[in-house]
Symmetry: C2
Subunit: 169 residues, 2 copies
Amino acid sequence: MSISMYDASVPVFRQMLGAMAGLLEKAEAYSTEKKIDGSVLLQSRLFPDMFPLVRQVQIACDFAKSVPARLADVEVPAYDDTEQDFAELHARIARTLAFIDGLDPLLFEGSHEREIVLRPGTPKERRFTGTAYLLHYGLPQFYFHVTTAYALLRHNGVAVGKLDFMGVR
Amino acid sequence: MSISMYDASVPVFRQMLGAMAGLLEKAEAYSTEKKIDGSVLLQSRLFPDMFPLVRQVQIACDFAKSVPARLADVEVPAYDDTEQDFAELHARIARTLAFIDGLDPLLFEGSHEREIVLRPGTPKERRFTGTAYLLHYGLPQFYFHVTTAYALLRHNGVAVGKLDFMGVR
């Protein structure tokens, strides 16, 4: 009568990470075709104080690794944020996919009611049940960055559509 | 050990619809302060063949009503898409909130494995289990339009931030 914490997280992140990789493939093809340096797209922003595309992809990966890791109660892998081109972003996505694909679904059992503490001991500490952390914090944050990456590409003229966003290829 | 179909849907839509209403409040205040006709923001687009803000909000509401309705196996309320100002968009959001708040959680029982058929009998027919429909179709689509509404406002200079998007007020 319900959804497991594993099914509500890992396959969703997998779908959207795959979609994001597809978006970046089309972005790179566009930059090649238009003779635009790839970094122009990767550094583009929708507004000066918003993060550029490269950072949107990095942060999307951060949520895709940290949310399942915390639910599975394993250490969140640390990534350096050094990506500067499409190939490096693809590697970050692939690394994230490999990490979540390696998580045993059994580790997620009981995570719906386990307490998740973000930024423990700091003034910004936040406490959630596992369910609230996933549904009301992790997934909205993740979708925010994937969609903003899509919006940045559309705004720059890359011919991507809803099917690309949805990961239907 | 798991999440109910009700908890994975209605409270999530409620959170993000509330957030979207808050975004529109800030957008309207901005248009008043800057002496910009509200329709300029509502008709703004990130690219000429993308939907404008007003349509993004309409479609977000459409997913927020249709996904819970189909899971609860009740008729999807029909809306005319006639909104032309902020007040009318707030009314659409309020109507959507009232609809989903009125759905009995018991109606969602068994929906995880019930077959959901979109556009039945057409060439674009799609069939899902309830779980796949919610997690891999409905929520990504919904987040897409809420985030794009946010992106449009940010791109137009409205001072909204991640907390507004998350519905933390």
